[in-house]
């Protein structure tokens, strides 16, 4: 069920982000969600895109350092307390979370969370028990 996330190494230097976003734009690849983790020396740009395989291909062609990670995409009702439910469920389930970030879809009814955890299947199960559905990679493109 999980979604493939692309991480790209970004050097802490002017212009390095431009190179990445430019190449994706030229290839008509849509960014569905993104977050950046940064340190003093470098950043990690994490992306959920409309066409993962092609994005990987063009980024590698441009000599970018990339890696693919399976993450969970959870669909939440867009209302106060929705994230609190997710966090509580995972905490009670003893799940370790590395990081998470949110994105919106076209409709105002739902919000989406990308969750990087150590056991995707178990997390999806736990969420489902609380009525929270996970989305597939194909669904990401349709949101």
């Amino acid at each position: 069920m999980s979604i493939r996330q692309i991480s790209v190494f970004v050097e802490n230097k002017q212009g390095s982000l431009v190179k990445i976003t430019d190449v994706l734009a030229k290839e008509n690849i849509d960014l569905r969600a993104m977050s950046i983790a940064d340190t003093q020396d470098f950043g990690i740009l994490r992306l959920i895109v409309s066409d993962t395989d092609r994005a990987l291909e063009v980024l590698r062609r441009e000599n970018c350092i990339v890696t693919v990670t399976d993450v969970v995409g959870a669909r939440l009702r867009n209302e106060p307390g929705a994230l609190a439910t997710v966090v509580k469920v995972l905490s009670e389930g003893g799940i370790n979370m590395e990081y998470m970030y949110a994105f919106n879809g076209a409709t105002p009814h739902h919000a989406y969370m990308v969750l990087r955890v150590d056991d995707n299947d178990r997390v999806e199960q736990l969420l489902l028990q609380s009525g929270i559905k996970s989305i597939t990679e194909a669904q990401v493109c349709e949101i």
């Binding site: 190494f9 020396d41 990690i44 000599n63 890696t67 990087r116």
Partner: protein, 437 residues
């Protein structure tokens, strides 16, 4: 395959025979420089040594050293021992660390050079059936012409590509069927990377061996080049002041380079006291030219640190072997009072499986030396979490600390961001030199 020698008689001579040749040639050379070079005459007179005092190699220690500074002081032709009409070629050293130096060759000197380069080519299994791809620079630098001469000597087909234009190098490797690649190890590494990037299978090339020298490199880098290009990589040593490449040459055993002792006598000395060290003890390599006519320098101090060995070699050659120099004393960095060779840092990185593309920055901040090593990130070490990447940085730092004895900062940089070299790689930027010269 049976070992082949270009000049078997001398390459496998007994130690007594080698000593006899050295004695005779040294006596002759000392007379020659005493009579024809003012500096040597003056120095020997001052030291109270006359040419008659030199009866054989055992008297070598009585003679004064020659240094790079001497070559600068007597620039350009002050140390030439023959009249200009007998000089048929000049070469010069780039002078990255100071004023350039120039050396001359007579027709005889060039023949000797061709022969020792031929010995190197035979030692790596080349003969008249081979295509020698020379990607060392042609010009005043000795690299290109040195191997080129050897190729001609053995009747192989020389391909004088010279350095640079890597795409063209690769096309020629493919189309011309190069079998032996000659260049600096850092350029070989770059060519190998580009071949990989283009998706070319190294097995589709005819390349079987590489002769790589002109800069210090490590065993780890050798293994990497061998694997990436699917060849045997051999080390070669030389310097402009003595001849150029092939002063010493590696054989099939790949455990060090045989010094062409019928043309050069090698010693190791304590760089501080000048005292001659026994075989097996690391020291500064010192060469005496005993067959050259134009620039037969006596006891030339190379600033290279190496170890000599006279253990029998499986290749059958009897010449003394020298280890791959750990680095030139000129390249040695003194950081917080600790001696650091860039090659030690390379060893750490490659042993740990990291990129061979690195650069070292030394600076002085608040009167303390700082050492920063930039390493190119590879996909193997990349991760979507900062913690995992930082683990690599920490591991490199810990290894550097344990090997060098001082702390270093490690910075991971984007692939391709460290400048590639077509000739000698510039691995170090010492910003301390900018302050107060």
């Amino acid at each position: 395959m049976a070992e082949r020698y270009w000049q078997k008689e001398i390459e496998t001579a007994s130690r007594e025979q080698i000593k006899a040749i050295q004695d005779e040639r040294l006596v002759k050379t000392v007379k020659h420089v005493y009579e024809n070079v003012e500096m040597y005459r003056k120095r020997m007179d001052e030291a109270g040594v006359s040419p008659d005092d030199i009866k054989g190699a055992e008297d070598l220690h009585k003679l004064p050293f020659t240094t790079k500074q001497d070559l600068r002081d007597y620039y350009p032709y002050g140390l030439f021992a023959v009249p200009q009409k007998d000089v048929v070629r000049l070469h010069a050293s780039s002078g990255t660390t100071g004023k350039q130096i120039v050396v001359g060759y007579t027709k005889h000197d060039l023949e000797v050079w061709d022969d020792i380069a031929a010995r190197q080519l035979y030692a790596v299994g080349a003969d008249e059936n081979d295509f020698i791809h020379v990607a060392y620079g042609y010009g005043l630098f000795t690299g290109g012409f040195g191997l080129h001469g050897g190729a001609g000597r053995i009747g192989a087909t020389a391909i004088p590509v010279s350095s640079g234009n890597t795409d063209r190098q690769i096309t020629i490797l493919q189309d011309f069927g190069s079998t032996v690649l000659c260049c600096t190890p850092s350029y070989a590494m770059y060519i190998a990377e580009q071949i990989k990037e283009k998706g070319i299978d190294p097995k589709s090339l005819s390349l079987k061996a590489g002769i790589f020298g002109a800069e210090p490199w490590t065993e780890e880098m050798r293994r990497q080049i061998e694997e990436m290009l699917d060849i045997k990589a051999y080390d070669v040593y030389g310097l402009t002041e003595i001849m150029g490449p092939c002063v010493s040459y590696e054989c099939s055993e790949q455990t060090g380079m045989h010094v062409n002792e019928d043309h050069f006598i090698v010693e190791t000395i304590d760089p501080d006291t000048g005292e001659v060290l026994p075989y097996g003890t690391p020291g500064e390599l010192v060469f005496t030219c005993i067959s050259k006519e134009c620039c037969p320098f006596i006891r030339y101090r190379t600033r290279d640190i190496g170890v000599l060995s006279i253990e029998p070699c499986s290749c059958g050659r009897t010449f003394v072997k020298m280890t791959k120099p750990k680095g030139r004393t000129d390249d040695m960095l003194i950081i917080r009072g600790v001696n650091v060779f860039p090659s030690q840092i390379e060893t750490v990185l490659l042993r740990m499986g990291y990129s061979p593309n690195y650069k070292i920055f030394v600076d002085r901040v608040n009167n303390t030396d700082t050492l920063l090593v930039q390493v190119e990130m590879t996909e193997d070490m990349f991760s979507d979490t900062v913690t995992k990447i930082k683990e690599h940085e920490k591991a490199i730092k810990a290894e550097l600390r344990s090997l060098l004895g001082i702390g270093a900062d490690v910075q991971l940089v984007a692939p391709g961001s460290i400048e590639r070299s077509m000739g000698k790689a510039k691995r170090v930027e010492d910003k301390r030199k900018l302050i107060g010269g």
